[in-house]
């Protein structure tokens, strides 16, 4: 690209083109240069949710495909309405305060997007660590 700019400046110096033409040509070369030099940021969409827990001799590594999460939520939206409160009650008994009836297909992508941005890294003084991330 420097070669092209040099040629344009040479032509201007020789009087073959006007200043306005040279300016236009330099802008065009400059745009082409910046377009080719600009690194194309390809953001790789995460595919898996990873949960890693380490506590002394105990290790837990779980990798769940995000597509499974999407498919599971899509399937859950088809369950009969009377099942929702029962599932919410069962989750609550296990200590999970999640209202299953509020799970809707429209908010699925929003939910997955929120999980894709999730990153948890916790460690305590005993050396136990919990890491949750998407990759």
């Amino acid at each position: 690209m420097n070669e092209e700019r040099s040629k344009i400046l040479e032509m201007l110096a020789e009087g073959k083109i006007t200043v306005a033409d040279a300016s236009r040509l330099l802008d065009a070369v400059g745009d082409a240069t910046s377009a080719s030099a600009e690194p194309v940021a390809i953001s790789k969409k995460p595919k898996y949710l990873k949960v890693m827990v380490k506590d002394k001799g105990d290790n837990v590594n779980i990798r769940v495909p995000l597509q499974l999460l999407r498919a599971g939520v899509s399937l859950a939206t088809l369950l009969p309405k009377q099942v929702g409160p029962q599932v919410s009650g069962a989750l609550k008994e296990k200590g999970i305060n999640f209202d299953f009836t509020q799970l809707k297909g429209e908010s699925l992508e929003e939910l997955v997007q929120a999980i894709e941005d999730l990153s948890v890294n916790v460690s305590d003084k005993d050396g136990a660590t919990v890491k949750i991330c998407c990759e």
Partner: protein
């Protein structure tokens, strides 16, 4: 959307006994195909007559099955370990 090809399960106990299984899930594909061929017309008729969502439910169940590809669970406690991989 492709169903999983294989499942690998490994269970190791402190006593030294371990169980390792390679399950070729690919052999289930023809069965899934036959089940789909049988299920789709019945589901279609049910949807038309009773207004159910059987066909959509069947498709979503199949989606969940296909989405299990890449699932891996690796749990190790002291000398015991359980590993499950689905590819």
């Amino acid at each position: 959307m492709r169903p999983p090809l294989m499942m690998w399960i490994s269970v190791r106990k402190k006593a030294g006994r371990s169980v390792k299984l390679w399950l070729p899930l690919i052999i289930l594909w023809p069965l899934i195909l036959v089940a789909a061929v049988l299920f789709i017309p019945i589901a279609f008729i049910c949807d038309r007559i009773f207004g159910s969502k059987a066909l959509l439910m069947g498709f979503r169940i199949y989606s969940v099955l296909c989405a299990t590809r890449g699932l891996s669970v690796d749990v190790k406690q002291q000398n015991d370990s359980v590993r499950v991989y689905i590819i």
